[in-house]
Amino acid sequence: MATAHRTYRSVLHPLHAILLAGTIPLFLGATLSDYAYSSTYNILWSIFASWLIAGGLVFAGLTLLCAIIGLFRADRRRGLFLVYFFLLLALVIVGFFNALIHARDAWGMMPTGFVLSIIVTLLACATTWVGFSSLSAGGKE
């Protein structure tokens, strides 16, 4: 076993991990709220979606900050970590566009907002998956 080579550095910092994993429930919540709005026309769901996206963006933004710091470390400038970084960047950008679409009044956000919310949720899942795979496996070369 390579236990001896496994260092604390090579796993995601707990804060980084919490922020990253938090994007899924927030963006998923937004998607479900969008679904509820489109099936009930109850405006409150669209308001929930807007705040959940804003929350998701705060989490994703801070995660991006952690990842940028990570880029300065030589062992992370290659392979899966780069894939993770660009997925995360895409998540923030598409998430921000989605926030702007959700700023449209009432049904003006539909159907684009719902479609974008689904894409953002899938991106959040993919980013989290890759993020955890790239680092938490520690000493694996």
């Binding site: 026309y41 109850n42 405006i43 409150l44 669209s46 308001i47 807007s50 705040w51 996206i53 804003a54 963006l57 705060v58 933004g61 566009f97 926030a99 702007l100 679409i101 959700h102 700023a103 449209r104 009044d105 009432a106 049904w107 003006g108």
Partner: protein, 433 residues
């Protein structure tokens, strides 16, 4: 969170300024049959909120042979005015609205909009201006009533002075010559005031003095606070002056900001602020005679049968019944003042209405920011608007003032309230001086 807001605002400002150069100037949309482009909405709505600036030693521009003077300054957000039978002028001062934050957008919009308004706090009072010697300078200024709640509309029926607060219609006893109310007002009826997205309550009295008409704006731009918030909103109420009983007189008027009665015909007229975020040239604000029982489209449709896709569920029945307004004032000019002229205002301005245009925020190139005159003939609007007071927007696109209420003084003058420079202006033909 703070950083993300700053980022948001910076990005918004960048994109906005980029839009500013690409949107062409509006086609003129005046008259009974305006051009209506296809609705459009980019990632951000086009917005330009001119920054306030001082008048210094300059004045608003008026036509040749007219003069303009500031008859009261340093007021606390003057909105509407009323000329009393003895020539005294009452000014309603205040700011209302208590809409809670609804979406993240509100954080940014609230910040941006605060940059374009006065920092003076709501006066919540009525100020009386008096020119005892008739020389055109109003040397006496007294507080007629205070502790009101964002007063806006004013009307006098005999010895009853009615004031439309943002939450109630109230009545003061009035006798000619009074400079101060004799006591606190009596409530005639409550007015819808929950949320109060559009808080201004416009007011006018019917010609026979039996009824009062109150304009109640919608609780949203386009139903984004839900339909439950729109009960008894976007309506003009007819209120029995004696009993306070009310009924909706006309509906579907998004934000009826000024009401007045046409002399001779006794017909009620209104100016209405229409919806935003459908592009720089939609939807035209308008002037229209109010038909009793009429439905004017909001929220389901605009300018007659043009369906607004942002409203769900839709209502084709209501859309079918929507009345096309009489006269487009063009989009986003924000009319807030309306009064019929009299021959004493000079030949060119003898027959028609004056309209105070507060000025746009919801388009890249600002429009409005002036007082216009719409000529009438045979009791109907009959031609292009004529600029009457301009110069509120400086060459550097800063706002030195924004016109609100306009009132024709029977002695031959136009009184204009300005809620950015907190001034009341008086425009007179030189021969009336």
């Amino acid at each position: 969170m703070k950083i993300s807001i700053i980022l948001f605002v910076t990005t918004a400002a960048l994109v906005l300024s980029a839009c500013g150069n690409s949107v062409p100037d509006s086609e003129q949309q005046y008259g009974p049959d305006p051009t209506l482009p296809e609705p459009q909405r980019g990632l951000l709505p086009g917005m330009t909120i001119p920054e306030p600036a001082e008048w210094g030693d300059q004045l608003p521009t008026v036509p040749d042979n007219y003069t303009i003077t500031a008859i009261a300054t340093n007021l606390k957000v003057p909105r509407q005015t009323l000329v009393l039978p003895n020539g005294d002028i009452l000014v309603a001062e205040g700011s209302g609205g208590n809409a809670p934050l609804s979406k993240p957008k509100g954080v940014i919009a609230g910040y941006l909009k605060s940059q374009g308004t006065t920092s003076v706090k709501s006066g919540d009072r009525l100020t009386l201006l008096r020119d005892s010697d008739g020389d055109g300078s109003y040397e006496e200024q007294t507080v007629f009533a205070k502790n009101l709640n964002a007063p806006y509309g004013l009307a006098l029926i005999d010895n009853n002075l009615y004031v439309a607060n943002q939450d109630a219609l109230v009545r003061f006893d009035y006798e000619e010559g009074r400079t101060q109310a004799s006591g606190p007002p009596e409530e005639v009826t409550k007015l819808p005031s929950e949320i109060n997205h559009h808080w201004t309550k416009a007011l006018t009295a019917s010609a026979d003095g039996r009824f009062l008409y109150v304009g109640i704006g919608s609780n949203s731009n386009i139903t984004e606070r839900g339909m439950a918030a729109e009960v008894s909103r976007a309506e003009v109420w007819q209120i029995n002056a004696e009993t306070g009983a009310h009924k909706p007189y006309a509906t579907g008027l998004r934000n009826p900001t000024a009401l007045t009665i046409q002399p001779e015909t006794d017909q009620l007229w209104v100016v209405v602020n229409e919806r935003d975020e459908l592009g720089p040239n939609l939807v035209p604000d308008y002037l229209t005679a109010v038909r009793e029982g009429g439905f004017y489209g909001w929220p389901y449709s605009y300018w007659g049968q043009n369906v607004d896709p942002r409203v769900r569920p839709q209502n084709p029945e209501k859309v079918k019944s929507a009345i096309v307004p009489d006269y487009s004032l063009s989009s986003h000019v924000a009319p807030l003042g309306l009064d019929f002229s009299i021959p004493e205002m000079g030949d060119k301005f003898a027959e028609g209405v004056f309209i105070g245009e507060h000025g746009s925020w919801n388009r890249a190139n600002p429009v409005g920011y002036k007082v216009v005159f719409i000529p009438f003939s045979e009791g109907r609007p009959s031609g292009q608007p004529i600029d009457f007071v301009t110069g509120f927007l400086s060459a550097e696109e800063k706002t030195r003032g924004r016109p609100v209420g306009v009132t024709v003084d029977p002695s031959g003058a136009l009184i204009v309230a300005d809620d950015v420079s907190n001034t009341v202006w008086r425009v007179t033909p030189k021969e009336n001086q």
